[in-house]
Subunit: 378 residues, 2 copies
Amino acid sequence: MMYPPEYLVMIPGPTNVPYRVMQAMLAPIINHRSDDFRVLHRSLQEKLKHVFQTENDVVVLTSSGTGAVEASVVNLVRKGDKVLIPVNGEFSERLARMIELAGGEAIKVKAPYGSIPSYEQVKEAYENNKNIKALYVVYNETSTGTRITWLDRVKDMLARDDSYFVVDAVSNLGGDDLPVDRWGVDICVTASQKCLAAPPGVAPLSLSKRAVKFMKDNPPNTLYLNLPRYLKYYEENAETPFTPALSLYFALHEALTIIEEEGLDARIKRHKECAKVFYDSLAKMGFEHFAEPSCRSHTVIALKYPDGLEDKRFRSTLANEFKVLVAGGFGELKGKVWRIGCMGEVNGYHVKRTLSSITSTLEMLNAKVKATTTPSLN
Amino acid sequence: MMYPPEYLVMIPGPTNVPYRVMQAMLAPIINHRSDDFRVLHRSLQEKLKHVFQTENDVVVLTSSGTGAVEASVVNLVRKGDKVLIPVNGEFSERLARMIELAGGEAIKVKAPYGSIPSYEQVKEAYENNKNIKALYVVYNETSTGTRITWLDRVKDMLARDDSYFVVDAVSNLGGDDLPVDRWGVDICVTASQKCLAAPPGVAPLSLSKRAVKFMKDNPPNTLYLNLPRYLKYYEENAETPFTPALSLYFALHEALTIIEEEGLDARIKRHKECAKVFYDSLAKMGFEHFAEPSCRSHTVIALKYPDGLEDKRFRSTLANEFKVLVAGGFGELKGKVWRIGCMGEVNGYHVKRTLSSITSTLEMLNAKVKATTTPSLN
């Protein structure tokens, strides 16, 4: 089998992985029940707490982001539980479905794809319902390029029922504001291959003390996704209950080291700046943004296809002629929308090369989208 | 953080990973919804079918072996289902617990640790119970170093109720006999980091057509471990439903290529030969085997500690002075038993270096175990 070429990976995950992080996967194989592992585990815990901005424990699952999101559901939602959830895209739909599979009643606050439910709508739904067990929010809807803008305001609202606050930040933690403790997030879920810029396959999630207490008192019908079981092994021996993806642990550790070196605030600022250049430049080119201006994601840029620009032809030309990967639409947006991942390492070079390649691709395809010069970014 | 030293990894997984397989993790990051991935996926499918000796589809989960074992349970076992299961160690106990968590009734056929229930005992249990949904077997009990010797005989027995036949071969597929189709195995589960000699984090499992039909008709309450969902994505687009651990996919692909180059039969023979040398030589040294001779594993050698040889001191001396890793006991055997993984790359060099290092360690510790010369192996 031929190995694939080296692309500029501008899809919304996996994203470009820095050289140092790739090399870290070559760390020697160790016994996952040994001091060699304990050193790795403890250091990883500290670094994860930093990027989650939390004092809570952080469990690392060997799974995709969806596995960790499912863990946040099956450990917390029980039969008959009322769960409030804004729904405005494929991933929030999927999360609502998981809540229902777990026996919960998903009270959906819907908004058209490309927009978000307002805080007032969610507050009204909360006020109209009694005994809300939890608010689950997909912070950054990868399918539509939107972000929920009011997460800093829900803590007080949830005090009425001591409702749990769960945030799916799979596609923006590390690239967007998310002070877990300050915002009172009980469970925060992310994955390695998005803004953390590590390879896919491991997914960390932070757990508040009261969430852990509930889970211990009400254990789920799963071993592999049983989160208190992970914490028990962490506490007793600084080990995992099941064999972890060691090479990906080393890679994630190196990726988090890079984040510390850059500084989390600087990293988030860089994501926002790069996203702004993408939004401004692509609008100048004549592309129409899919997301409304007030709720545009800093990490996923979603664009509508103009008439005459065909999804597969556009993206395959970009990939084959320029080695630049962008993503198509997801679910019902397939063929109508394309997306850029603005994640992880993303910097001026990535932005310029992507925009330049898009410009040239449009010329090659004779697409009727306004041309522009490539903007500059420091 | 300092990286760990390069050990000879003689624990029952993870095991030594060949250089080529480690390097394969450095394959460029690709879009997991692209032709680059489809090429990888299809080639991986072919190679997995070869090593599973099956025409069945093989699902690859991003998880540890336990995750895949749990998938084999939650997709097949429903409330009230009667499931027959031999129990003779920690992993079969754990599997029985998973069956109960899924609402099944686990009919345990027990044997003392170090031995296995006989075929006759299992047959008797089958005959004494009606409507047996499935027989679940941990083929190779990693915790005790035993293997079930009669798997080739159950197919006919299970015909009475059309019972499903599920084999947990996490710690011996690729290093022991397991013709999935010939033996009529409906679900066969393994993991990357054992006899396949890839890094941990992905776990393949084969699914018979009738098992898939049941799962489609009776979908489980999970998305992440929903096996028919994987097959649907495989069939429709040669994609995975959730982001796969791409780097580990490339590594597994390279590991399976090595198996093809060696030949599966030769590989299994090599495992058996290496295991025999371990058993014979360690007995000559004065160690007592934990497993009974008739059911000793070809991939995990379990040994009792003689009086005066302390677990932690023995294994840390081997690790620190000779860079050889062996494992301790698991669960209730902790401190009483130690184990050697005879897996994957294992060859004469591994065997000799391990035995030589053990001999020297015993001398250093003045342990009263009969000394011997290091045996030769071609």
